[in-house]
């Protein structure tokens, strides 16, 4: 994530986009979506028609007159009559009532069971969670239609009963969704902080947990309503709904019997069912977009993808020969910019120039947002696709990196430019053994056979100080420690004998004792193979340990660049002096607490039991 998090101090930091902020904003976003508006209008229309059914037709939906069977449209019967002479328009209106009430029963029952159980199981975990999850799994394994048939056979035809039973069967869906969102939010530190602040469980639930649970539940409800209408219509079509009640499924069933005499009859209930179910499902999708929820709680803002290839544009003339005779990497006037939502561009690197010679370790130091990682990633060609980079010059060992095709860049990366990332664990694929991840680049870049690559990988693992190379070779990433994983990545980075090594905060995620060993290793390998190294870091201790030269970055610019000895002894730029002044290394220890005796007073905590809840 260092690519985005280093993008600049002014930009909004990637925050946990938990869906709750500004519910009003969500409604506005929903109403700006035309699909959502159409779906809402349809659903409201259906609900209003169902409510006003007695006013809209004087016909009874259930009274059959055999004499008027299959009457055409017009007159007393605007949509005609069905096979037993019931008015189609009245049936549609009253059928809407049945459908909506039925689906509301389903949602009410499943919410009533699933929501509290899910919240409790997710928040308390433990035994209740185990039992509730077991019951949920059991319910999910039951074949819904068969259970419904059994229940209806036992208790007689009743749409309401069928829908209530279906609500129970579908409740595990709600339960699981709620439980997983509660578990996710429970892990957040702000919930711990609320507990420490003395909030009751009920209050934590209301203030911190429910706002996160509500958006996915609302979306789920919208989908459930659609599903319930389909299931209900299915049961009624089979003739299992309540007798003497108009319903869309019942209409379909009747229309089917008269499909040759009057095919038009099929149209109305089919349209009603399809349109209503589609409206619920489209509304659900629109809600998901408006609430910014995609199943789980998203942690990072979405990256926008564009088709622009990540090539570096030429920003000026290329001088024929490098200025420094043994220059390995030359950057001149590197700029990196990102498009903003407003359509403008925000530049995060403003013309960085630097040179790395063979065998030289360059430290690129700065605070977050200084553009140091952006610079390193631009050299690697690993910036996100929407980034626009340009430079007056950008050469690696004489090769112009600007406008290099992705394939040509791939041949350089790994083979001649090695990379050590910050987070060792997230840079190893958990589904492959360490051995296969180490040997693959060697076979690809160096054309080694499987056995040759294996021998070489074992040598490398031994070289980076792994005690039992054969065991680690056969292990999966989760089976080794973070320090080991970083050694593996270093072994991988140097496996193809690169000329340049780019290390992005390679020890930030490691313990200090492990850091020291890893830095020892980098220093030894660098000296042994005469590699050029670009070391991105925020830690002046690390710089002092391994770097020959240092470039200090701030706000996308290099403010000072000097040999390490000189930079530490005699910093020129005010910012460098401020940074070096902020290191705590040489500040005096705070010393013992004044007043010697240490515990001069008796501290009696407030009586815990008196006075009821505070």
């Amino acid at each position: 994530m260092s690519i985005l998090s280093d993008a600049g101090p002014a930009g909004p930091a990637p925050v946990d986009a938990v869906a709750a902020p500004a519910r009003a904003g969500a409604v506005r976003r929903l109403l700006r979506n035309p699909v959502a508006v159409v779906a809402l209008v349809w659903l409201v229309a259906v609900a209003v028609l169902a409510l006003l059914a007695p006013l809209l037709t004087s016909q009874s939906p259930t009274a059959s007159k055999i004499t008027e069977a299959l009457a055409p449209m017009g007159g007393d019967h605007p949509l005609g009559t069905d096979g037993v002479g019931r008015d189609v328009w009245a049936q549609l209106l009253y059928g809407a009532r049945t459908s909506l009430i039925g689906s509301l029963i389903v949602v009410a029952v499943s919410l009533l069971l699933g929501l509290p159980a899910g919240v409790l199981a997710g928040y308390r975990r433990g035994r209740f969670d185990a039992v509730a999850s077991w019951v949920a799994n059991l319910l999910m394994a039951l074949p819904a239609i068969i259970v419904l048939l059994v229940v209806l056979a036992q208790f007689g035809r009743s749409t309401a009963l069928a829908m209530a039973v279906f609500g129970v069967i579908i409740a595990p869906g709600v339960f699981r969704l709620v439980r997983s969102s509660v578990i996710a939010v429970r892990e957040e530190l702000y919930v711990d902080a609320a507990r420490v602040a003395g909030l009751s469980d009920a209050r934590i639930m209301r203030r911190h947990v429910l706002p996160v649970v509500v958006p996915p539940t609302v979306i789920q409800v919208s989908q459930l309503l659609g599903i319930a209408i389909v299931i209900q219509a299915g049961l009624e079509f089979l003739g299992l709904g309540s007798a003497n009640q108009a319903s869309w499924g019942g209409m379909l069933s009747d229309a089917f019997q008269n499909i040759y005499a009057q095919p038009r009859l099929l149209l109305w209930p089919a349209l009603a069912i399809v349109l209503t179910v589609t409206a619920f499902s489209l509304l659900g999708n629109a809600l998901r977009d408006a609430l910014g929820v995609s199943g789980r709680v998203p942690r990072v803002r979405r990256r926008q993808r564009t088709d622009a290839p990540p090539v570096v544009a030429a920003g000026g003339e290329v001088p024929a020969a490098p200025d420094v005779p043994d220059a390995l990497l030359v950057l001149d006037g590197l700029r990196v910019a990102y498009p903003t939502p407003e359509g403008t561009e925000r530049e995060v690197v403003h013309g960085v120039s630097l040179t790395v010679r063979r065998g030289e370790v360059l430290g690129l130091v700065g605070e977050s947002g200084s553009g140091k990682s952006q610079t390193a990633f631009a050299v690697l060609g690993l910036l996100p696709p929407q980034a626009r980079t340009s430079a007056a010059r950008m050469t690696f060992d004489g090769t112009d990196l600007r406008g290099l095709s992705p394939a040509a860049m791939n041949r350089l990366r790994g083979r001649r430019i090695g990379y050590i990332p910050q987070e060792p664990m997230s840079n190893l694929d958990p589904s492959f053994t360490i051995g296969s991840q180490l040997t693959e680049p060697m076979r690809h870049h160096l054309g080694l056979s499987k056995d040759e690559a294996r021998t070489r990988a074992l040598q490398l693992l031994d070289r980076v100080g792994i005690p039992d190379p054969a065991r680690v070779f056969a292990s999966y990433p989760h089976q080794v420690s973070g320090g080991m994983a970083q050694r593996v990545l270093i072994a991988g980075a140097v496996s193809c004998d690169p000329d340049l090594l780019i290390a992005d905060e390679p020890t930030t995620a490691l313990d200090v004792t492990v850091q020291a060993e890893v830095l020892d290793l980098v220093r030894e390998l660098q000296a042994e193979r005469q590699m050029g190294v670009v070391l991105v870091t925020h830690d002046f201790g690390v710089v002092a340990d391994v770097c020959d030269t240092v470039a200090v970055m701030r706000d996308g610019r290099i403010v000072e660049s000097a040999p390490a000895e000189r930079l530490f002894a005699d910093p020129q730029h005010e910012y460098t002096r401020m940074l070096l002044g902020s290191t705590l290394e040489d500040t005096p220890a705070r010393g013992a607490l004044a007043g010697a005796g240490l515990h001069p007073e008796e501290i009696a905590p407030a009586p815990l039991t008196s006075g009821g809840p505070r």
Partner: protein, 292 residues
């Protein structure tokens, strides 16, 4: 609200430390049928006096964070005792634990997940006050005071956490910890996620607040230079045990225990020449350890 808050200005002469941790053992259950639990703390004993900072240093997995969480009531106590001013507070019921929230507070490491992204700074800060029955206007007055104490502008109340930088968020978290004048704040790596220059300023804020209010800190960190800057005394943890406790200057310059020594020698000095010396010394020390 019948109980009197503890007073740091109390003149009582009986000498009892503010916090006593006595042979504390914490086990974490391991998922899986009949798997034995993992022992994270193996009998920790320490004391913190009123107004004192005890720095707790250790590497990942040493149990330092678990110790903080046990004191906060967020980790299960398997054995031993935690006493606050002489009263046992380990394994309290939920309700008694809540009553304790006045005296013991927390600042977490990650300023991004420790503040609810959906609540305004004002809501975050008034919440601990409103649950204890303060009126809304009292709470708002107190919040203005707190924001001033942590050097944030008063208009921060109506803004969301995401509008603030890491250092500013940590100031908000500090303000939240201070709302009810606690006696002890457990600080779990509160400056590790911050930039160097921000780190120094936030540490100074911690010291400034301590000198004014007499609050005590348990300051958990992996960084010896940070701990040296803020602590009166330092305790070093290694694999669930305290290996060394003592005066901050002594522990961070001339440690007794080989592990502390290793820790100290591994921390790089921001000066190439001195770092080269320290590195050489570390190699000599490692060789000696390996030989002996």
């Amino acid at each position: 609200m019948s109980a009197q808050p503890m007073s740091a200005e109390s003149t009582s002469t009986v000498s009892a430390p503010l916090l006593t941790v006595d042979r504390l053992v914490v086990d974490y259950p391991v998922t899986g049928w009949r798997r034995p639990p993992v022992r994270v703390l193996k009998g920790i004993s320490l004391e913190i006096g009123a107004g004192e900072t005890l720095g707790l240093v250790g590497e990942s997995g040493s149990g330092k964070t678990t110790l903080g969480r046990a004191i906060l009531g967020l980790a299960p106590v398997t054995g031993g005792e935690i006493r606050l001013g002489g009263r046992v507070v380990s394994n309290l019921g939920r309700r008694e634990r809540r009553a304790l929230s006045r005296d013991v507070q927390v600042v977490f490491q990650d300023p991004y997940t420790s503040l609810n992204p959906a609540m305004t700074v004002g809501d975050i800060l008034t919440e601990p006050l409103l649950v204890t029955g303060s009126s809304r206007s009292d709470a708002q007055r107190r919040v203005r005071e707190l924001l001033d104490q942590v050097h944030l502008p008063a208009d921060a109340v109506s803004r969301l956490p995401r509008e603030f930088s890491g250092g500013q968020r940590q100031r908000i978290a500090i303000a939240r910890a201070l709302t009810r004048d606690p006696k002890l704040v457990v600080c779990d790596e509160p400056v590790s996620a911050l930039d160097l220059s921000t780190q120094a300023r936030v540490l100074d804020l911690f010291i400034e607040i301590q000198e004014r209010t007499g609050v005590a800190y348990l300051f958990v960190t992996h960084d010896l230079s940070v701990v040296r800057h803020i602590s009166h005394r330092v305790a070093v943890m290694y694999r669930g045990e305290l290996v060394e406790t003592g005066d901050a200057a002594a522990v961070t310059t001339a440690p007794d225990h080989p592990y502390t020594r290793r820790l100290l020698l591994a921390a790089p000095v921001p000066d190439p020449r001195r770092q080269a010396e320290r590195r050489a010394e570390r190699h000599r020390f490692a060789a000696a350890q390996a030989a002996g």
